[in-house]
């Protein structure tokens, strides 16, 4: 089961646009749930955005990241442009990696994604510390790790509509 989507040797159906939009909206909704100062709540938008930028780099890109980032800035009451900057970077890096990463097994993909999330958080940290904000403590980076742990279930959840029923036909070439 721990296979990469590319080496699963299953032909995926094309991704539906409405499904991509719906998952991004669901991530936005999850990000708005007021968990307070709980530790390790992942940034759902970053997670879903990186997923679609890896799997569908032509459909979801930096402009989506920018718009979602601005929404997050308002919802989070942070500085305008802080999340936008981090998400644009995430989208760029994910699209640049997409050809390579999808061939790795899922746990190695999760390691790649972990580095992306940490990079995004570091960008936000630098942007805010530069303007004289408080250091939120190392535990803040914990959410990147929970996000990376969720990569495995998330891949199956978001790719599920693209799987087609597996029928064994040994006469078919692929």
């Amino acid at each position: 089961m721990m296979e990469s989507p590319h080496s699963m040797r299953r032909i995926l159906l094309p991704a539906k646009n409405w499904f991509i939009v719906m998952t991004l909206c669901a991530a936005l909704l999850l990000n708005m749930v007021p968990f307070g100062y709980f530790l390790g709540i992942p940034d759902w938008i970053a997670l879903v955005l990186v997923f679609w930028c890896l799997h569908q780099p032509l459909k979801v890109g930096m402009s989506a990241g920018f718009i979602l980032g601005l929404l997050m800035d308002v919802v989070d009451a942070s500085v305008m442009g802080q999340h936008a900057l981090a998400y644009v970077f995430l989208a760029y890096a994910a699209a640049a990696l997409s050809r390579r990463v999808l061939w790795f097994p899922l746990w190695q993909q999760a390691l790649h994604v972990l580095l992306l999330f940490l990079g995004g958080q570091l960008i936000m940290l630098f942007a805010r510390m530069f303007s004289g904000a408080d250091f939120p403590g190392l535990s803040w980076f914990f959410s990147s790790f929970t996000g990376a742990l969720l990569w495995y279930p998330l891949t199956y959840l978001l790719l599920a509509p693209q799987f087609q029923p597996q029928e064994k036909d040994f006469h078919r070439p692929i």
């Binding site: 990241g65 900057l85 970077f89």
Partner: protein, 302 residues
Amino acid sequence: MSAIGHEPPPFFNRGPAPLVRLLFFVAASIALMVADLRFHTLEWTRLTVATLVWPIQRTAWLPIQAADNIGHYFIRQSDLQAENESLQRQRMKAAKLLLRQRHLEDENQRLRVLLDMKMRQSINGQIAEIIYAARDPFSRHVIIDKGLQQGIQAGQVIVDEHGVMGQVIRSFARTAEVSLLTDKQQAIPVQVQRNGLRSVLFGAGNGRLELRFLSTDADVQVGDILVTSGLDGIYLAGLPVAKVIKIDHDNTYVFAHITCDPVAGIEHHGLVLVLDSRTPLALPPIEDLSPEKSKHGRKEKR
């Protein structure tokens, strides 16, 4: 750009190169950040987006509210009774003070009239509830459930039953954002209740407050209560703010390092009181000036 001079048909047109787009968006984000932090010009954008996002946000609160309600449902009756009894007791205690306060306030007013002093502004306010703490880990902000529709304006003061909690910094349609005293960017002018020594209290970020710019031999003791001095024209005078818990007398520094704890339950969530904004102090009358000039003078003074 083929050799013949025709443009290739736009089958594979993917727009500008990724790096160009990255640079564009990064520049846009940084411009937004500068505009927001330095010039504070994006408040109307924030208000618009917040109003549009409001219904979605409301939906997102539902699960948390439901969990809260379930928690309330399973509370033990004995706990409720105990709480009820302690509240009754507190009310009786407060009633003693309140009955006397009315009398004292009247007396105070009469004395002030006799002395020809300005009337003190009485405290009025609206009760609001803290809905949640903003997710931004770099600051200490909370969101309350009253906003522009209830007349909440930026700059109003938030108190709970023990003392000052913070200040409204942004007001949206139905919610408002409050910066707590412990936020690093928050400052409040205070005086020591015991001897009237004035200073400014700053948020230290980690749930503590810091009294800065007092010399090492200043008369401050551990356990002193700090109250608002009212010099800024925003906070009413005499509201309790913090309690001194530690003083570092290090002679290598010019100023003493004084750490304080807020008296209000700042990190607890519940009901708060949003005080009405204070009527600005009247400017001293300007005499011997033509009406035009006096207008100018007043503008410069603000």
